[in-house]
Symmetry: C2
Subunit: 149 residues, 2 copies
């Protein structure tokens, strides 16, 4: 039997969240957190709606998953996020001790890789899953925003 | 006339917040945010109470100050925090474009200075204000915690 639950499957769900952000005029980044192939948090960037720079998709996903689990550590959990996490989100993921991070597209300027943010030793990070789709959505957002102004 | 509103004055308020955290069994770190010598946010660490690794004093202070100001950027604001911010909080402060950060004691292991977290070019950071008091409170917390276990 084919296992439908691979990284692409969950990244598609994260991309749906990014599209929901796009529809609200938010920078389109989405995230889901899974445990044992079950989604326990799905969130998207809400910094404009909430007037809050801390309302990145990943931050909300961490809070939401911890709430679901009834504990603050995300052991055995995987975060899928459409764009590489920033310093703040990678710093939060450090504290969460999450097991795995899968991102879509790189953020060369403000992502945690270029800025050398320290991840928890228990955390594995991989990327490039549906990177083109994640990146295209972001580009489309900024082009439309520029044309509106 | 003597101006009572100096860094020590506001750091004392942040220390009162840290003491409130201590009383709740939280790692005792407190913060206030000011604008024009007026306190617009006062918060303390609530990671245990809220079961949420993102509930550091600084994160709550950023959200609270933005809420007060009705905008997400903390231009002309100063954060006073009893312990040097971690990567997550410094990353959030980057996004907030806060003008000034004043911390009490250093966190050599997990603070943003040792870990080289990027601050916003508009942000100035200084430290060492009531460092001994902030550091002693933290030490007392961990000694008592060790003795209880």
């Amino acid at each position: 039997m084919i296992n439908p639950y691979n990284d692409t499957y969950f990244m598609k769900r994260a991309l749906q969240e990014a599209e929901a952000a796009y529809e609200k005029g938010e920078i389109p980044i989405g995230a889901v957190i899974t445990i044992n192939n079950q989604i326990i948090a799905r969130t998207h960037n809400l910094t404009e709606t909430l007037n809050d720079v801390t309302a990145h998709a990943e931050m909300q996903a961490i809070t939401s998953a911890a709430n679901y689990l009834g504990g603050k550590y995300l052991i055995n959990c995987t975060l899928y996020v459409t764009i590489e996490p920033c310093q703040m989100c990678a710093g939060a993921l450090f504290w969460s001790q999450i097991s795995k991070i899968v991102y879509g597209a790189r953020d060369e300027q403000r992502g945690c890789i270029s800025l050398n943010t320290k991840l928890h030793p228990k955390t594995v990070m991989t990327g490039g899953v549906m990177a083109e789709e994640a990146s295209q959505l972001l580009k489309r957002f900024f082009i439309e925003k520029r044309n509106l102004n």
